[in-house]
């Protein structure tokens, strides 16, 4: 299955840092995703509290199969499905992410310091996904909440079309921090949304909205929610909280939990 020419690096490249016994460094250069993920797994089960990986480039599924609150710091560009089914760890990406980050994520946190791709947080049920930069299409698609699990996604930049599509629960905050010639979100914003809430910093053209959402103004309760998550977002990215709050937010909520009741004749 794996290409042998890419798998020359030996598996025993995990080594414990002398400064912090709990930190393990891994060099991902030319490691296949299976080798890299096995190495991370091994390090965590060996007691590491922090795993730092250098030279990540394209390896998929990082963070898989871990239920511990371990911290995984990635330098480079992790591959698709980063933090898929994530259930506890905190993943920090010092670079850009690719597609499908936080796929069906259950708990934990993913922090991306750059941009990220399409279909982020698909079916996300819990945990937090913070992206500093811009994101692509179908981000937050089918996020949902269940009992006490309420997933939270904060995007620092802009988003592509179908943002929050099918959203069934959870909280999405879209900040649009940098001025661009593009609108903050693409077309079909919140299309099919039937649960949860999307906060947008600034305005959106009503023509961009999915037919299932309405724009509401912010209530004091919303302010509390925004304050909580944005403070954390600012801490993670070393941003000025006041500067983020200098522009008013709007709130998008679904008109109905059952928007398609009239689809069927009998």
């Amino acid at each position: 299955m794996q290409n042998c020419t890419l798998a020359q690096n030996n598996l025993a490249c995990a080594e414990v840092s002398p400064q912090a016994r709990a930190t393990v460094w891994i060099n991902a250069k030319r490691l296949s995703y299976q080798e890299l993920n096995a190495t991370i797994h091994e390090a965590v089960f060996g007691g590491a509290k922090v795993v730092e990986v250098e030279n990540v480039n394209g390896q998929r599924y990082i963070g898989r199969g871990l239920n511990q609150p371990v911290e995984i710091i990635l330098h480079g560009t992790p591959g698709n499905d980063l933090g898929c089914f994530l259930n506890g760890p905190q993943i920090i990406v010092r670079g850009n992410g690719q597609d499908c980050i936080g796929n069906t994520m259950n708990d934990g946190k993913i922090v991306v310091h750059g941009d990220a791709g399409d279909v982020l947080g698909y079916g996300m049920r819990g945990g937090k996904l913070f992206i500093r930069g811009n994101v692509g299409y179908r981000v937050g698609i089918h996020m949902k909440e269940y009992r006490r699990q309420v997933p939270v996604m904060v995007i620092g930049g802009t988003a592509g079309d179908f943002f929050g599509e099918y959203m069934a629960g959870g909280i999405i905050i879209l900040l649009g921090l940098e001025q661009t010639d593009r609108p903050i979100a693409g077309d079909y914003l919140g299309t099919g949304m039937h649960g949860g809430v999307i906060y947008v910093r600034g305005e959106v053209d009503p023509a961009q909205l999915g037919k299932e959402v309405v724009v509401m103004s912010i209530t004091p309760a919303d302010e509390v929610v925004l304050d909580q998550h944005l403070s954390e977002f600012c801490r993670d990215f070393n941003l000025d909280y006041a500067a983020i709050r200098n522009k008013p937010f709007i709130k998008l909520v679904p008109t109905s939990h059952r928007p398609y009741g009239r689809l069927y004749a009998y």
């Binding site: 794996q2 020419t5 995703y33 394209g58 941009d115 077309d187």
Partner: protein
Amino acid sequence: MQGEIPRIPSGCSIVGIMDTKGRRFNGEEIIQAISVMHDRSNGLGGGFAAYGIYPEFKEHYAFHIMYEQEANRHQTEEYLKSKFMVDHAEMIPVDPQPDITDHPLLWRYFIRLKDEVQRDCKVDVADLVVEAVMHVNHRIPGAFIFSSGKNMGAFKGVGFPEDIGRFFRLEEYEGYLWTAHGRFPTNTPGWWAGAHPFVLLDWSVVHNGEISSYGINKRYLETFGYYCTLQTDTEVVTYTFDLLHRRHGLSLAEACQVMAPPFWKRIDRLNPVESRRQEELRMVYGSAMLNGPFSVIVGYSRGMLALNDRIKLRPMVCARDGHRVYMASEEAAIREVCPNPAQVWAARAGEPVIAELDEGVIL
């Protein structure tokens, strides 16, 4: 290798690298980039297109042809010689690889119009070349012209792209623009002519996704004399670019709008002039719309363009660093060969990213 194989849907990886100053570089880089996305293909198809590789024959059409048997070669060569001057013919040099087996006979020809035909200025050479490609691929069994542009060539076959690259000794070629493809066909074994890129004249297309509108795209193209003989959907993209841009004279941007048009909702909101133009494009070229998930990188002699389907169901990342432009299914592929590009961005649904040689660059 030929036969009534049904159309083969495929998932894939694609990448393109070009130097906007027209400086040439060898195939090593593109092999490195595509091999990062190894897991997106399954060993049943890999291929490359390279531009600027035949400077000694740059006014000739370079035909790369696959033959099942020697007899197919004789028949094809006879046909070519009846139509064109063949100034040079040779086997394409290859380096056997352990995982590359059962390859067809691989030949290349450098051809030009016969002098007496040349004098008849009414003849459009490109049309004659298209006609010849269609004739050989459609009518001569066991022969496939898989590359037919000037100063460029396609190299493709059944295998992982990195192995195909080594097989064709691409590190020995130098070009200013390279595209590559790793293939994951699902329904049938891959076959050599069915690997990407798909080339006609200097158009080359590598594609990730499946074109669900293939049935009508194919029938539409047939009315203009293009025959889809290679049993994959991607073929239609190549011919559609040729039809819309070269023959009909649409700009590349408009050709892209035909293939991945804006939604009516957006068209209705444009200013009246723009809106009318887009409406007309959709009315007239509805059958050329490519539907279903796709991302393609199209190479042509002056540049390359990336195009995604109109709801962006396939990925495409672009980057620029100095005079290099990169396009790939995954950012990792770019970073493998250019760790810190000055600019990285994701392509948008239905909006082509076009990279062309800098003004004044003469090849």
